[in-house]
Symmetry: C2
Subunit: 119 residues, 2 copies
């Protein structure tokens, strides 16, 4: 059992859209990820997904609206809802979601990351 | 679907050891709570529990060691492990745990909070 310092972990990687596993509990993963630019539209058919902004800000686009998320804010995207994160500048995000969750959801492609690294 | 600003929510209550539900996903709750003083020794037989420090710091006591948690750090306490949070000064904490989790675990008593408020 060891504590996790978010800034320490976030300093260990510099690529975008590539979540790392920072913790696991009750079948859920705590992930850390950096966003910059536009991701792909996707949804998760079976998983709700939580995004918590550790540093920076980004826009979560939905088909009918956009929600800006700033440092210290979180958003839960319910299963089945199409979304696309867009970040003008680099943003550091903590995710909380079932261990089964794939980053690109139903849109498997070149942005899909499997066998995530644990940090 | 609405975003949650942690500081906004934390400004809405001032009592200690009384978690509020700030979000729900995949059968898990995201809770916000303020600690000050010493809690009761307890364990959760069926739930792992995550503590993330939003503001301040506290000590998580175990039977064989103590871990200090500072702002921006989290700790996952596995099911079955006795623990006791102790905070010299007020600390604001975000919890992730199954919706079934009782704050005092196996030590039901006057500190136990049921039917938590949603904020």
């Amino acid at each position: 059992m060891q504590k996790v310092n978010l800034n320490d972990k976030l300093s260990q990687f510099h690529d975008y859209w590539n979540p790392r596993i920072a913790g696991e509990l009750n079948g859920q993963h705590v992930k850390l990820v950096k966003f910059k630019g536009e991701f792909v539209w996707h949804k998760h058919d079976h998983e709700d997904e939580m995004f918590f902004v550790v540093k920076g800000k980004f826009q979560m686009e939905f088909r009918d609206k956009t929600i800006e998320l700033n440092e210290g804010e979180f958003l839960i995207v319910p299963k089945g809802v199409e979304h696309r994160p867009v970040a003008e500048e680099e943003v550091s995000v903590m995710l909380f979601e079932p261990a089964s969750t794939l980053n690109t959801g139903d849109q498997k492609g070149e942005l899909t990351k499997e066998n995530l690294e644990k940090i």
